[in-house]
Structure formats: C-alpha cells, structure tokens
Symmetry: C2
Subunit: 324 residues, 2 copies
Amino acid sequence: MARVAGVSQATVSLVLGEKWRGRVSERTVRAVRAAAGELGYRPNLAARSLRLGATRTALLVVPALTHEYFARVYAGAAKVADEHGFGVVLYPSPAGIGPARDPFGSARAAIDGVIASSMAADALAGIGDGGLPLVMLDSDPDIPGGPPTVNLAVADGMRQVTRHLLDLGHRRIAHIAADVDTWTFRVRTEAVTAELAAAGVPAAARQTSALNVAAARDAAVRALSAPGPRPTALLCDDDILAAGACKAARALGLRVPDDVSVSGFDDLALATALDPELTTVRLPAESIGEHGMSALLALLAGRPAPPVELPLTLLPRASTASRT
Amino acid sequence: MARVAGVSQATVSLVLGEKWRGRVSERTVRAVRAAAGELGYRPNLAARSLRLGATRTALLVVPALTHEYFARVYAGAAKVADEHGFGVVLYPSPAGIGPARDPFGSARAAIDGVIASSMAADALAGIGDGGLPLVMLDSDPDIPGGPPTVNLAVADGMRQVTRHLLDLGHRRIAHIAADVDTWTFRVRTEAVTAELAAAGVPAAARQTSALNVAAARDAAVRALSAPGPRPTALLCDDDILAAGACKAARALGLRVPDDVSVSGFDDLALATALDPELTTVRLPAESIGEHGMSALLALLAGRPAPPVELPLTLLPRASTASRT
DNA sequence: CTGTTAGCGCGTTCAA
DNA sequence: TTGAACGCGCTAACAG
C-alpha cells in the first residue's frame, strides 16, 4: 500500500486511474506518482478484476499454433489489444494436437471475450461460450444473427489464382484440396469449380489431402498419374500442399514450372523458401487479427461490430508458367 | 452464489476444491454438485487468485512466435501446465516484431512465474523479473547461482552434423551462421570450429546472415563465390538458412547434393518440404517446453530444479552426399 | 460434520 | 480536496 507514500489511499486510486480532473491537487498527484515510482508499485490485477468484474483479457482460439498464419493473426490481435490495455491469451483448440479440452482450464485466465479463428462452427460449441462476447475470424458468414465476423475474401482469392492459370493457357487443372471441413476450405473448392465452369473449362480433377507435405505429395502423385491426359497445373489450397505438389512433380521427373505449374495459397515463409518460389495468394493475417480484436472491443463497449471482408492479393512467382 | 443450492457456502468451496475427505457428508456433496451443474456455476478466478495470492499461470517469453520451434515449445509447456491446473500465457518479446514492451501490460494476466526461451540474458532484464521465479530454456548455463536451466545439447548436435559432413569426405566446409547474439547460436559456431580443428581440417569460411531465407541466400552466394576453391558443403545454423543456401546453390547452377551438400538445424516442417529434403538435427522442442514447465512447477513448490540437458539427433537426408 | 467469520487489494461512494 | 468504510467472490481458520 502506497499510503505510506505521503497522503492517502483512495487518492492513489484516483491518480493512477487518471480520474483526478478537479479532485486532487497537482502537488498531491506528483507526490503519489513519485512514491509509486520509488516503491515499484504494481496494482494487483486479481483484485482489480474482482472489483471491476472485467479482466481486460481476450481469448484467441486457433486450430493449430504451428501454422504460421495463426501466429500472425495473434500478433495482429495482440497489437491492437495492447493499444487498449488488453491482453490476449492463446488457446490452441483440441481439434489440433492441442493439449487441453477446456479453455477455462488451460488458458485459465479469466476472459472478457473470445475470438475464434478458422474454426468449424461445431468445434466452437465445445468452447465455454456461455454468453461470452464472441467474434469469428475467417468463418462462415451465413449465420444470420450470429456473432460478428471478420472474413477474408477467400473466394475472390481463389478465383484470382484460377484465372491466373487460365490466362497462362492451362486447361487441364487439378485441384489439390485440403480435407479439412471448415468454411475457409469449402469456399476454396466452390470458387475453383465456379470459375472453371464460367470459363467453359472442364471441371478440375480433385484430390484431397491432409494439411502436411507428405500427404500432399501423395495426393499430387495421384493427380499427376491418373488415367487420361496429365494435368498441366496443380492448384493447391495451401502453400504446404503446394510444397508437396512440387515434390511429387519432381519425383515423377517433371519440372516446375516447365512441365507442370503449381500454385499455393497463404504466402507463408515457405512460399519463398522453395525453389522455384511459389505463386500464391497473400493473406493479410495480421490485419485480420487486428480487425478481430477491434470488433471484440466494439462488442465489449456495446457498440455494433459490422462484418468486415479483407481483400487478398495474387502474388505471381516462378512456380507457374505458360503452358508450352 | 450456490448457497441457494441447498446448504451453505464454505461447504461449496470444500466440495469443488475436492477437500472434503472427512468433512462433508456424501449427500451434501451430491446436492452441491447437482446445484453447481444446474446453475452452470463457474468459480471466479479473480477472487480465487486474490485470496490465494497465486494465479496458477506461467508466462512463456519467446523471441518470435512465427518460428515453428517456439510454437512447439509452447505446446509442450501448455501440456504439463494443464496437467497441474496451470495455464500458460505467451509473451512474444519486443526483440522480435513483438507488439508491447511490458509483459504486464501485454499479457496482462497476473503471473506466478516466467519461462524464458532462447533469450539473450540482457533482453531478459527488461522483463519484470521482480523476484518472480524464472526458468531459462536453451540459454547460457554458465551463470552460477542463476536460474534453473533446461538446455539442448546444441554443441553436440552441431558436432554431429560437422562429423557427418567430414565422414562424407568434405574438407572445404562453409558455415552459414545466424547473426543473432544468443547463447544457442554462439555455441553452434564454437562447436563447428572446435570439431573442424579436432579433425585437422581448415577452419570453415563463415558468412553470417539474418534469420530469413532471402538473407541466407545472399550469404550462401557469398560463400560459394568467394575467391579460392569452392566449398563442397554448406553447414547452416538453422533450416531456414539452409533453405536459402539451397536456393543460392541452384542460382549458381550447382546441384544439391551433387555439387554441394547443405545441412540445416531444427528439423522444421520446412526441412521435409524442400526438395531434396534437408539433412538436419531434430530438436526436442515439445520436450524442452515440458521440462521447462516442470522446473518452474518445482520452483514454485520450493523444490530444487536440477539443470537438464536434452540430447539431439542427427537426421541424415537427401541434401548431403559424399564428395564426388 | 457444518455454519460463521475475516480479510485478500482494489475502486467507489459518502461524509468530513 | 481527502480520509474512512464497504463489498467484489473466494478460502482458511475457527466456532458451533
């Protein structure tokens, strides 16, 4: 207690709470601040939370922390949270390799609200959303009256890649799809199908794969060695899948992009680590984190949080080329 | 308040705290539990923390969340934390692109202890280590009387790679070193130097590089096009650097591993995404997280936490081959 | 075996 | 302008 610090106690609260407009004298304020500095005073968060009923902490639920995308979403959310005196704690959902089942057991900090990223709607039911303010990132926006959403223009991004391949003259395009049942991946498949149909090109042969390099390699081998004319382009749902596709091509003696073009999605660090560098679509991951946190903040303040949709940009690089 | 739930209040505390061995009757216990279920009762963490003076939460400080290694350390730490009713909150240190300066502002949950991973000793001074129990991961163990440490046998790992290249017949080995001033990287350089000297092989030409692919590529180009005989192997401090090295080789018209061998360190997902797959050293990331949390738990319980050193294993893959 | 009481550190309201 | 008193929800000690 900084009452040793000269004057009183409630005064301290006023000063450190910046609420002394016309209540405390300048001199006293300086005294309190000095004392607080000397004693290295730290307000007790637990007591403050108890009194205020709020913890100024948000929970970010992600399917898997090891995917670079979510680390960037976290960074974005943490940035704007910090600007408002909020904290963010991570909860890697059990759907991934996640350790715990209950966020209130794992990230046991008390929580004012939840931000869920790229989660299946039902996986979220497990979360203790007992009336907690909730914002959904990169999720199905079609729920009327549902929580506020911050979305990526995933469909448009996928359309851009498809068109890019089409423009390069490709007509036999295989789609390496992630077999993850979330909105973000369902939309990708739909967009590819629709865009191809609109161009009057035969529907893509589709192979599904788990989200890892080895599985993607196998899927791509299947796509490339299927009966009938060989695809000239492999359109992948994710950079990780694209990495597997490149390996598959090489294993079959095909060169990228000379014999087969490969495109990714996400623009992970991986995309430029590969050789040739991956044509892919950049996702504004930090930005979606920032918008998500802003929406949650709005919710907590009782303000409405209008839905947001963030644009994606195609990054043509060396892994795609004209059909020769 | 679950006192509406039948009996009393302190009784509830006992029941939910599993401390009613010979204090409360079976019947009452059932009544309390039923009521708690009906009312969807959630103990208030803030109040509990206030009363107990402990938050059962640990802070994990990492240099950068986007590096897959730290995500895995977190997963390990979170796993054992959860087993003990603890939570883990992440604090990406400002040294990286991190958002905030003060962990008590950013990850504002109150903290019982701190686990610092791969941090420079001085960067840690900024952390509010005001007498907080501290465990250091993958850090300089040479501080006597310092905090408990959990270390990786980094030197041994680096020795294994060096020996591997030596055994393959390489005599002109260039070292692509990360220019990050932390123990873990300093040790790598020392180990390479020592092992080469022990084998009576000329010291490695060394190029330093920031920890990203583009910088590594440039560094590797410098190493490969330096005056004098060209190195036949590129020994890299990290898989990311190795990815850059592979690109450099190819840009110079050299084949990996036929013309030049490349080795990495960390066994990231990247290592098997590349083609050829990277010879690298596997780091038991989850394991170091687990041991770190265990050590912190020991500290909090007043038990001593003996230093731990975890072994590393060499993973020979396709990016290294005999000198032809 | 069960209920009562006190106080953790803070913000706030009320009286001086 | 400031000090004193109350209560947030919980648990540990003690009284019944």
